[in-house]
Assembly symmetry: C2
Homo-oligomer: 373 residues x 2
DNA sequence: CTGAAAGCGCTTACAG
DNA sequence: CTGAAAGCGCTTACAG
């Protein structure tokens, strides 16, 4: 019947008791304008024979639409390939569909993995990721961040360590009403805004590992004190040692900066001690690699002269020799979770957070073994 | 005089022969609404006593504005802190102020350095960077990219290797009229759309270096054939060798994949040859590090058993031992240049490209030396 | 369950 | 050199 109607000159005809076929009308539209024309909400409304208000309702999943109307509009949208303009939508909604990632982590692999994870979590949500490195020590730090968020009217923001630990920026975000998720080694505030990587648990594994191997003189190279993760990794490490009746001797502890060079420098210092430690836990792989370099410079090798354990499990851990026993932190997964949580946050839904889901784990490699003496 | 006027109840009064002081009016506005109110073009127009059309003209640097009007409006903008909403502007202009970076390079340091460079080049331009990893082998590769560009109505796009070498995506961008800059090892099309890293020149330095050291049996580990940079590095390398009457023996050439593991695997193969090469150029640092690992596995060391040269000069080159002699490629600078060129491209200006500005250079370290035999 | 009108914050012909 | 009106593609009270 409809087929017959459509045959007349390829046009649909509507009479009082016959409805126009929306599918056919949509196909005709696509036919007429070719594949490159981008339809608007007005095109959809015209084809469907409804107001754009109604189309808007189906876009925004309002329940106040008759099922039949909804499904017809849905079909038309599919056929003509309509997708609402995020810019126009954003203008009306007073926000954009952009997620900001604000970071100051110096490790490229951390940044890229995190980005990848966030992007995974954003997939098919219609949101895009805009990246924003920052410098917490800059005078314009807060102002830069604020301008970034306000100008782009960001949908929300994901903060990674160590800027995620900065209460100033968090206060600012709250003040301007910007949704945010903080990724950090430990819960810094109520769960709704946090993704926690539980670095302490990872540090504990490192401590247990070295203790079980029989080490007694055990050293530690930290990150900068402004990095909370470094604290957590140390606390966990000490817990792991304590389980075996050991404790960290302050004279075997040095402050690094999460860089290769700091691992090399602080490592050299520790190696000059007499007696020197038989094992050292570096708070990240980059420093552990530097420590390995220090060993070489001193004419020593791991694990016979010194056991080395790192944290992160990035490529560097398996690019050096011996390969580094380290704690694996699921960075990409953290990014994914952060993105998902941010999306839920805006939907006012209560995120069903599985507590303790992210647990780092130990990866044993060749850089650690029993103590020599 | 004006001061007196302003004293009356803090209001400005205008009489026939006295103009309102726009500065004072602007300050009063800021006073009244507090620091968090975001002004719009209408606020500026109202305070200045002009139409918003005129304000729009000064925002867009139209010459058709009287100097006095322009400077007054400029002052008001500064005082009340107006900055045009990119979303609204974009809606009217039919494009956004977002730059897309489309990449498929597997090296995190490359990606992060590139991003940083692009961001540097975008600074204070009012544009933001949205990142978009892609997979050239995916069926939806082209469609994904197209949707990304069209949905966000991107201002322009920066393509990095190897996706920058994909003619399909470039054709698509041209078809939909999206401005783009391709970053690549060699000019792939007319200069206006290219930033060239001249990898061949870098490869030549590597070749000269090993030739000068006296090596004769020289090997090469390439990247995947789909990476143009690998070709260029090899061609340059052969040029450098040729200058000294040497050429690459095919039996010392292996195909890697720019990864540590491929450097390890292909390196092991080359080391089993008899006689084995006395020097190997790996087309990137990651593979050179893998090659060093292969040496260790074989009970050999660099540079006495084998000289190793890499390419990139990333952190890995100085994290391993011996530190890798390599070719430095100014990735961050390339990103910066790409961003600047893209901005100029849209302004219809002819970019004044300094040809051959980006020249990679050799960095000598401990992994290379004279041949043993 | 649906629609006509106004508005988000800008710009662009068109007049003057 | 400047302005009133319409428009970019959406959404939101407000009616019905």
């Amino acid at each position: 019947m409809l087929a017959k109607l459509l045959c007349r000159e390829g046009q649909t005809v509507s009479t009082e008791d016959e409805a126009i076929d929306p599918v056919a009308a949509a196909e005709a539209w696509r036919q007429r304008y070719g594949p490159s024309k981008k339809p608007t909400i007005n095109d959809v409304a015209r084809i469907a024979g409804v107001s754009k208000r109604t189309v808007s309702r189906v876009i925004n999943k309002s329940p106040l639409v008759k099922d039949k109307t909804r499904s017809e509009i849905g079909k038309i949208i599919d056929i003509i390939g309509f997708s609402p303009d995020p810019q126009a939508r954003g203008l009306a909604f007073r926000h954009s569909y952009l997620i900001g990632m604000i970071y100051d982590n110096p490790n490229p692999q951390y940044v890229v993995n995190m980005q990848q994870g966030i992007l995974n979590g954003l997939k098919n949500s219609g949101h895009e990721l805009v990246v924003h490195p920052c410098n917490r020590d800059s005078d314009s730090f807060l102002q830069d961040a604020r301008q970034f968020v306000e100008r782009q009217k960001l949908f929300g923001v994901i903060l990674t360590p160590s800027v995620s630990e900065d209460e100033r920026i968090v206060a600012m975000l709250r003040e301007i009403g910007c949704a945010y998720i903080r990724i950090a080694s430990v819960a810094l505030e109520n769960n709704a805004n946090m993704i926690v990587s539980n670095d302490r648990l990872g540090g504990r594994e490192a401590g247990r590992h070295l203790a079980k191997l029989g080490h007694k003189r055990i050293g530690f190279i930290s990150g900068k004190p402004s990095f909370r993760s470094s604290h957590e990794r140390r606390l966990g490490f000490e817990e792991g040692l304590a389980e075996h009746g050991l404790e960290l001797d302050p004279k075997f502890v040095r402050e690094g900066a999460y860089t290769f060079q700091s691992g090399l420098d602080r490592g050299s210092e520790l190696l000059q001690l007499d007696p020197r430690p038989t094992a050292i836990f570096a708070a990240n792989d980059e420093m552990a690699a530097g420590l390995l370099q220090a060993l070489r410079v001193a004419g020593l090798t791991a694990p016979d002269a010194l056991s080395v354990v790192g944290f992160d499990d990035f490529q560097i851990a398996i690019s050096v020799w011996p390969r580094i026993t380290t704690v694996h932190s699921p960075v990409t997964r953290l990014g994914e979770l952060a993105a998902e949580k941010l999306l839920l946050l805006k939907e006012q839904e209560t995120p069903d957070t599985k507590e303790g889901e992210n647990v780092p784990w130990l990866v044993e490699r060749e850089s650690s073994g029993p103590p020599a003496n």
